[in-house]
């Protein structure tokens, strides 16, 4: 069904494109938000992606690659929004850091806050790789193919992103006593 819609949209059928956009919109927003960590920027990126997709659809050669092609357009729209917005720091949502609050089934509030802060320090290229790998569940070669960058670059970006986030988390996990000992030593 999707290839048919893609083919029709590629031929200029606006209704077919609207169906594709409705079907893809939520998925695109999910990715854009996770890269940009800002709902407004993410919505702008998705809107820009959909317009660009409509304009460029006739150049898409393999309709089976529509989703991957769309995601690549989205990632570049996210890069654009990241550069244009530069609002990450201003939008950091500071959560209460009085210590671990009520038990979270998966992750503490403090850990979430540390991850959020660490993630916002990453350049958008590293964020994209991290999201594609950890959220979309793509393998690194798949990430490389989707983003159109060499595998080594993907590995490098993921490595830096992971180190940054692990450091942020581990800083949170150290107890005050442990930190004092490190200072004394």
């Amino acid at each position: 069904m999707v290839p048919t819609l893609v083919e029709r949209a590629r031929a200029g059928d606006e209704e077919a494109f609207a169906s594709l956009a409705r079907g893809a919109g939520d998925r695109l927003l999910a990715i854009a938000y996770r890269i940009l960590r800002d709902l407004g920027l993410a919505e702008d990126a998705v809107q820009h992606t959909l317009v660009l997709a409509w304009r460029e659809l006739p150049t898409l050669r393999d309709v089976d690659r529509f989703d991957a092609w769309l995601r690549r357009l989205l990632v570049h729209a996210c890069y654009r929004e990241a550069r244009r917005g530069r609002r990450f720091a201003a939008n950091v949502r500071v959560l209460p850091v009085d210590g671990p609050s009520a038990p979270d089934t998966t992750l503490s509030v403090v850990a979430r806050d540390q991850l959020e802060r660490g993630f916002r320090r990453l350049p958008p290229e590293q964020r994209a790789v991290f999201v594609f790998h950890h959220h979309l569940g793509l393998t690194l070669p798949e990430v490389a193919e989707e983003l159109g960058v060499p595998l080594g670059t993907v590995k490098s970006r993921l490595h830096y992103a992971t180190n940054t986030l692990r450091a942020a988390l581990e800083a949170d996990l150290r107890s005050p006593i442990e930190s004092s000992r490190e200072h004394l030593a």
Binding site: E14, F17, A18, A21, R22, G25, D26, L28, L29, A30, R34, L39, A42, E43, V46, Q47, H48, L50, V51, L52, W54, R55, E56, P58, T59, R72, H76, A77, Y79, R80, A82, R83, P100, T106, L107, S108, V110, A111, L115, P123, P124, E125, F130, V131, H134, H135, G148, V149, P150, T153, T162, L165, R166, L169, E170, D172, L173, R174, S175, E178
Partner: protein, 293 residues
């Protein structure tokens, strides 16, 4: 949360996945409707070059086609050389070799020849800006890792030097491949450079855009577009170029894209418009591995 240090990989992956699971789940109708409205007002980019490009590729894919093309190229090269020698008394000069095999002679001036049957290279002076001439002649950069298809009859001056990071590449620079139509009304320029160590593609693009002179053109700036299927940026979008003594007049378009670890810059100026630019950009193919470092 435990005060234990994170165990490698598994704990971190679990935490990262759990953290990433949170987020909005639905695109608002407002955004979707706005996108569809804007799309409704946006013309799709047609694959103007489709039929001729297919013929071109088929022709080049056969051995006989390559031989025929080589013979044409050789004949023109010999004829051009004889002509150049007769004009210069055999002392050489700015004309240089006129072999269309530009890949083998960087820095030389060459003429692009048709590579598909029966195109009519009637463009230029009297044509309205929206008239896109048949794009039939392929130019393969000898050192910058790309190829582009332009109207037949254009003159090519391939780059003879490397474009070093942080250095300018204005019109007339030896780091550019410059191609111009016979009436000197439209010009195309292309060049590339490797990204600096540790530099991301977006950083390279941003550094380039920051260095470039801002201007008000006919379209939004920056504009995202596809260049040979790769997402790129138009950072000068139809600016009037009358104040630049090196310009042909008309409008200037400046485009950047990063492919395979190289930053590419393409420009068109003169009697060119947005549609013409996009048609040319669509013909570009990248081969970063072939670039000369």
């Amino acid at each position: 949360m435990s005060t234990d240090r994170l165990r490698p990989t598994s704990d971190f992956d679990r935490i990262a996945s759990a953290w990433l699971a949170d987020g909005p789940i639905e695109l608002s109708d407002r955004v979707l409707d706005a996108a569809l409205r804007e799309a409704h007002l946006t013309h799709q980019r047609r694959r103007l070059a489709g039929p001729w490009r297919t013929r071109l590729m088929n022709r080049f894919s056969s051995a006989s086609g390559r031989i025929a093309t080589a013979l044409i190229v050789a004949a023109i090269a010999i004829g051009g050389s004889i002509y150049a020698l007769s004009r210069s008394g055999g002392t050489g000069g700015p004309g240089g070799s006129s072999t269309p095999n530009v890949s083998s002679s960087p820095g030389a001036t060459t003429a692009l020849v048709e590579t598909s049957p029966a195109p009519s290279p009637t463009f230029i002076r009297s044509a309205p800006p929206e008239s896109i001439p048949p794009l039939t002649a392929r130019f393969t950069s000898p050192r910058n890792g790309y190829a582009v298809v332009l109207p037949a009859g254009w003159t090519a001056i391939p780059a003879s030097q490397a474009w070093l990071p942080g250095t300018p590449n204005g019109w007339g620079s030896a780091v550019n491949d410059e191609l111009i139509d016979p009436a000197r009304q439209v010009r195309f320029m292309g060049t590339s450079q490797p990204l600096a160590s540790g530099q991301s593609g977006a950083e390279w693009v941003q550094a380039y855009v920051d260095r470039n002179t801002p201007c008000t053109g006919e379209g939004p700036t920056p504009e995202q577009t596809l260049i040979g299927g790769q997402p790129g940026t138009i950072d000068q979008n139809g600016c009037l170029s009358a104040h630049d003594p090196r310009s042909l007049g008309g409008r200037v378009y400046d485009v950047v894209v990063v492919v395979g670890g190289r930053g590419y810059n393409f420009e068109m100026d003169g009697q060119v418009d947005h549609a013409y630019l996009l048609a040319v950009l669509a013909t570009i193919t990248f081969n970063p591995a072939s670039a000369v470092h």
